[in-house]
Assembly symmetry: C2
Homo-oligomer: 451 residues x 2
Amino acid sequence: MSSKLTFRNVLKPENVITELHWSDIRFPTSLEAHGSDAMHKDPDYSAAYVTIHAGGLSLVGHGLTFTVGRGNEIVCAAIKSLEPLVVGRSLVDIFTDFALFWHSLTCETQLRWIGPEKGAIHLAVAAVINALWDLWGKIECKPVWELLSDMSPEEIISLIDWQYLSDAITKDEALAILHKQYPSRRERIESVKQTGYPAYTTSAGWLGYSNEKIQALCREALDDGFKMFKVKIGQDVSDDIRRLKVIRKEIGPDTPLMSDANQRWDVDVAISHMTALSEFNLRWIEEPTSPDDILGHAKIGRALRPLGIGIATGEHCHNRVMFKQFLESGAMDYCQIDSCRLGGINEIISVLLLAAKFGIPVCPHAGGVGLCEFVQHLSIFDYVCVSGTMEGRVIEYVDHLHEHFLDPVVIKDGCYMVPSLPGYSGEMKEESRAAYLYPTGSVWKTLLDSQ
Amino acid sequence: MSSKLTFRNVLKPENVITELHWSDIRFPTSLEAHGSDAMHKDPDYSAAYVTIHAGGLSLVGHGLTFTVGRGNEIVCAAIKSLEPLVVGRSLVDIFTDFALFWHSLTCETQLRWIGPEKGAIHLAVAAVINALWDLWGKIECKPVWELLSDMSPEEIISLIDWQYLSDAITKDEALAILHKQYPSRRERIESVKQTGYPAYTTSAGWLGYSNEKIQALCREALDDGFKMFKVKIGQDVSDDIRRLKVIRKEIGPDTPLMSDANQRWDVDVAISHMTALSEFNLRWIEEPTSPDDILGHAKIGRALRPLGIGIATGEHCHNRVMFKQFLESGAMDYCQIDSCRLGGINEIISVLLLAAKFGIPVCPHAGGVGLCEFVQHLSIFDYVCVSGTMEGRVIEYVDHLHEHFLDPVVIKDGCYMVPSLPGYSGEMKEESRAAYLYPTGSVWKTLLDSQ
């Protein structure tokens, strides 16, 4: 049952990492105004893409971190700076004490200055760690959610860098959470394989859509089986009301509907803007203000909870220390981990455990490119091993760019189907990586030549 | 009196920025183990160095952001990514609405994803903004502290991006703080020109020093007129006690002595470690835990204040939203702004105003390379225009690398003397920039060849 015992049989000390490649891959999504919100008006969904090769292994680890275009080159520069810490390391050593290896990246004595554990360097760590988990899954011949679900509670907590966590959660508390779910995990695996994991869609909710477009997209989403919806708000209260009226008319008064302001407001403006929208029965307001503002989110939460509106945030929450504070101070009702903002699965597990301790549901951020592919593994693991429930939990879903992946997400009747191929599902097709390489891939050459 | 009126006479719309240069400059300080602390054992003090040229102007703006070696190349990559936002801009436009220009760098719709306002991209913003202030000072023929001190309260608050601040401080509150000090500012200018601004030294306090070395360095510092001292602690409580005993014996029981753990501890460990050192009459413990942990610092503060120990932090505090929370929640007794971690003077002014509102003294982080040169301007401006007092305030001082600057700090009798040359004092000698350019400068060539 122990995955570590398994890999020890497959891997040998001579399986040493020989190559860490990175590439700057961008999709010109801004041309179609997909994904525009109150703060990111022209995103080109992008990936700082990593492959990891090891001696004596034909399997290759694929990972990425997500950005929205410009700046992707800076994250690639940061991946390059991590290379000496990765190449030459034995996979057995890494997977035997993954927390120590993670710490060696995030706490490198010189590099940590430009974080620590935040910004470009932490996004780069995520890409590397995501690729290592993909490789580990492929070595074990398991999707990553299963690799994790097959671990014992003790193995799971050994993946985490516990620095700065002990005032909020101890290893013993974490073990108790995991042991509580351990005996019944097989039942949940069977159950989620049957039903999938519920998703919500933002397809009808982007800023600037006409009433007719919103209507058509709501109907399409309902036909596709979606039972939860999200709408982008925050530029103009009267336009928000216009779009919310159309959506509510289409989906009915009680279908879960969430809202997202993408960091648009000051604290008191968030409270007044959302109060003006209280008739629309919104489950949460996401990123109402600066993603760093723990106390601000707590204040907004105290004002809006009596109106039935919860606080969701996390996609820009940069490390476990920030999540710790959001969770312990009641500043977050829905915990939106990001698979690339945090430093990969190792750090994410610590946040899942913190959320379980404080009784806050985890509803991952997705969309972008590759995020849906990653987070399905995390939510399934959370359900099977940590929270033990799907109640109040839902994964974001956006129907963009999945065609570029070898093992794209499968959505049926508004739910993510459980992935079954080995790895972390983030491997992009070789032809896509070539065509969208920035700025020399064929798509960009054509675009830049025509400008 | 209005500097804006002045520059409008000097600058013309055709003074447009034509070049933004960056270079990766590193000093091999790790060879001498200068500056080692509990988390940064081998710093190579480094600068991502910026020069800004404008058409029709012979003056050049020089700025930098500080790092500790590896990772400096990532910040340089981030500066490169900012270039299109800077080159082509008119200096008149920038200085007329500096807050808007600042926002255009920190909130660029794609680049902001890899922050926002944190990590490599924000350090890069600092280098650019520092260079622009240097250029503005040179154009006005004033040191930057004087350029600022000659501005009206209204001009000063127009420098700030107010997004996310209004729940803690309004523009009217900020104006009231500035107007209170405005009539008496000339007296304080004369006074600080006479006395200088008090400094403390860490020279005797680094980890790993022998009793004899500590003794000698304490005596030297006392001879030089220093009246406040800081010691690095946190690796081992018994070694901390050994060194504190030697220092206290040398400087006496009542001379202000501060301590710095450089993020070493978990929250509860910080409390127990510092409780064990309570006999040494330590004014503050600096960075006891993760620099992101507002609630953790608040808890440590509640435990240690009854022992007479305050909480100092800020050198890794990445933006005004974090400072806002530290200040309003009582998590910080001493506010240690960093001239390069925050996005330059514009953002720093907002933190000075927040600190004044919440009654917390600002004691800037310095040392490294160039930091002492910058922060003297900030503390003098704080004294003249914002806080109106030096009580409980002191600037860090480390005697490293000043010889590389054209206008190095001058310390007399333990105080920073007021700088008088135009600009921000961060211009490095051309020969130093050439010799320490990484990895092709003569110093690095020799070093790398010999390894």
